[in-house]
Amino acid sequence: MEFSFTAEQDQFRDVLGRFMRDKSPASAVRSLMETDKGFDAEVWQQLCAEQGLAGIHLPEDCGGTGYGPVELAIIMEEQGRALLCSPFMASAVMAGYAILQTGTDDQKRALLPGIADGSTIATLAITEQSGLWRDDDIQLQATKSGDDYVLSGTKRFVVDGQNADLLVVAGRTDAGVSLFTVNAGSEGVTCRVANAMDPTRKLAEIDFSSAPAQLLGVEGGVDLAAIFNAVLIAFANEMVGGAQAMLDSAIEYAKLRVQFGREIGSFQGLKHRFSDLMVDIELAKATAYQAAQHLADGKDATAFASMAKATASEVFRHAAHECIQFHGGIGFTWENDTHLWFKRAKSSEVFLGTPNDHRERMLQAMGI
């Protein structure tokens, strides 16, 4: 039996997609992206408290709805398609998975419900200078201090760092890398907003200077690769949603725009490129979906997660570029919406590792 979405999942997508598009017209994206915070608290509240989306992948005893990676993938795809601005990626996906994978049962029950209902905005601070999740690149120092710890070091590219109440931070002790939770308002925590190319995804650089922290789970007990895989798969699904938005937008324009007395979409030179783009997007979707199903099945998802990330980010970049091209001059203006997705695409290409990085990671995971 091959993977395909169930009728319920299809219906979930339909409803959700309408909701997202309704809540995130380009005008909303444009006004939110100009703000420091970058999202609409009311929409976020609807997303979490009313729709229960932020806890889709979290267990019911932690405030979640007990679905899994496939349903999360649907949310991510529709969110990426609508370019809905929210701390979903940071809080629900990144911090949510990190706590779910690493925390003790008590910690999960304490921390996850707030993430699920949206009352806590959390984020995950792993990367430093290199921007990579490699163990060696994590140099932030965690020092035992009484029952708790203090953290010192700097994290870069922290998604929604400026919006987070709760920081999940990777730090190093003698036992290796562990995760810690830090209250964002604590002394010793300094957050600088980064100048992000993609203004719809806020980034921060955060300094920790003997900042008080609690250990998540046990020392050295974090499975970074597992968290990374889950995040990558959600992210890949977000990207294929973005790619689809670009194809839809270009198709809509090509059907309306008349040049030389014909719709430009009737020119075979364009039609064939549209077809090639659709093929690439469908294959990237197939990979992103299958990776989610694989994760849902509880199998090691390393190879497929990296495959999905590499494929999705390349197709998103390509789709965004083609969408500009098919719009012609207007596609390069600020007024046209294409650049909003284009910047998300360019940014997504390198976030969490380049396509080349992930192809290599995929081969190694396959024993090749």
């Binding site: 395909s4 979409g265 064939h272 549209f274 077809s275 294959l283 990979t287």
Partner: protein, 419 residues
């Protein structure tokens, strides 16, 4: 309709236990299958079947496989003829032709493509003209023209033929559909050698070849609609029949006959795996040549494996959608186009991995010639069964809803420009 699969399984098991005998000849055994309907259970009871739904058909096939029982003859182009005749033939035609197709006694070929009409199949110019004055008296037709890309025509007893009977109407309306007897003086079959040295196809030349009136299938001028049935089946079956299991371990008269039959039927397809690029060999080959440790080649290998894997996943999901009735139809063009991309990249990767030895062919090429055969066979995959360009048109117009190309071939066919 409620069906009880377990009951059907029990019934077929019992029937097989009573009837299956590896020491029968193929024709003897298949005659039993045809008479009882167990050979084509999805077909109507009136015509050698049992009117069973797909789920039962799968169960029956499993029971046959478990018993090691051979089925009716389905290989090669004969099933294209069978499904078309079943849908559009008259009672007499179905009775006459279908039985001997299923028993394997008659081989068939498909006579649609022409040198002048490859992508534009409806532009056929092979003509069928009334033979004598009075068609109503069954004087029939005489056929002149040329067909090409005909698989197994040199083994065929009959062909299904698309020919033009009216030149004064638009091209799709002037075609009619016939059965033609391949054993007659007006039919000349030549083998057509490909650039990879194989000769999987034929050219067929008609010079006043005779078709009796009762060999006309469907209404006059409705040939295109009839041919659509053939083509739809062909598209679905394209990757199906190729990998009939070999029953090497089994003993009995019938297995010997069956192996021989299959060898002939599969002969045109031996290079098809190479045409698809042999992705399965890539990692093994990279290990053999040491290129597995070349980071630039590794990137290409990863891209290839990704493209290949994702194509399979897409095809898998599509087949689930089709089963659930949720597919729109033309999505198969995505799979086909993706398969072309896979094959082309695989050829490039095999070349890079093989390096200088890619200059050799035959037994001097690695893997006993397989590598060379990949390199010279892959160009076929983006042409055969509908070119990539045609797939792109289908995707653009039928999946993405883009406006159609302006048309220049809608008038009476005699006025349409053609080669």
């Amino acid at each position: 309709m409620d069906i009880n699969i377990d009951a059907i399984r029990a019934e077929v098991r019992t029937w097989l236990a009573d009837n299956w005998d590896p020491n029968l000849t193929l024709v003897e055994w298949r005659t039993k299958l045809v008479d009882t309907g167990w050979g084509m259970p999805e077909w109507p009871e009136d015509y050698f079947g049992k009117d069973m739904p797909p789920v039962a058909v799968s169960a029956i096939a499993q029971e046959f496989a478990e018993a090691g029982a051979i089925g009716v003859m389905k290989s090669g182009p004969r099933m294209l003829a069978a499904v078309t005749l079943l849908a559009h033939g008259n009672d007499q035609q179905k009775r006459r032709f279908l039985r001997r197709i299923l028993t394997g006694e008659d081989a068939w070929c498909q006579l649609f493509s022409e040198p002048g009409s490859g992508s534009d199949l409806a532009g056929s110019t092979t003509r069928a003209d009334a033979n004598g004055d009075d068609l109503a008296n069954g004087n029939g037709w005489k056929v002149n023209g040329q067909k090409v890309w005909t698989t197994s025509a040199h083994h065929a007893d009959y062909g299904i033929l698309l020919a033009r009977t009216d030149w004064d109407v638009p091209k799709h309306q002037g075609l009619s559909f016939f059965v033609i007897d391949m054993h007659q003086p007006g039919v000349e079959v030549r083998q057509l050698r490909q650039m990879n040295g194989h000769a999987s196809f034929n050219e067929v030349f008609f010079t006043d070849a005779v078709v009796p009136g009762h060999f006309q299938v469907g209404e006059l001028g409705q040939g295109w609609q009839t041919a659509m049935t053939t083509l739809a089946y062909e598209r679905r079956a394209v990757a199906g029949n190729r990998d009939a299991k070999e029953d090497k371990g089994r003993n009995g008269t019938i297995y010997g006959e069956y192996r021989e039959e299959q060898a002939i039927a599969n002969e045109p397809y031996t290079w098809y795996p190479q045409r698809a690029g042999r992705v399965d060999l890539v990692v093994e080959r990279a290990r053999e040549t040491g290129k597995i440790s070349d980071p630039a080649i590794r990137q290409e290998i990863a891209k290839l494996l990704t493209m290949h894997q994702s194509t399979q996943w897409f095809a898998g999901r599509l087949s689930e959608l089709q089963k659930a009735g949720k597919a729109r139809g033309p999505e198969g063009s995505i799979t086909k186009l993706a398969a072309s991309n896979v094959a082309r990249l695989a050829s490039d990767v095999h070349t890079a991995i093989t390096g200088i030895d890619a200059m050799l062919t035959g037994d001097q090429s690695p893997h006993d010639g397989v590598i060379a055969e990949i390199l010279v066979s892959v160009p076929a995959v983006s042409i055969a069964g509908g070119t990539d360009e045609i797939q792109r048109n289908i995707i653009a117009e039928r999946l993405l809803g883009l406006p159609k190309e302006p048309r220049f071939d809608t008038g009476p066919f005699k006025d349409v420009r053609r080669n």
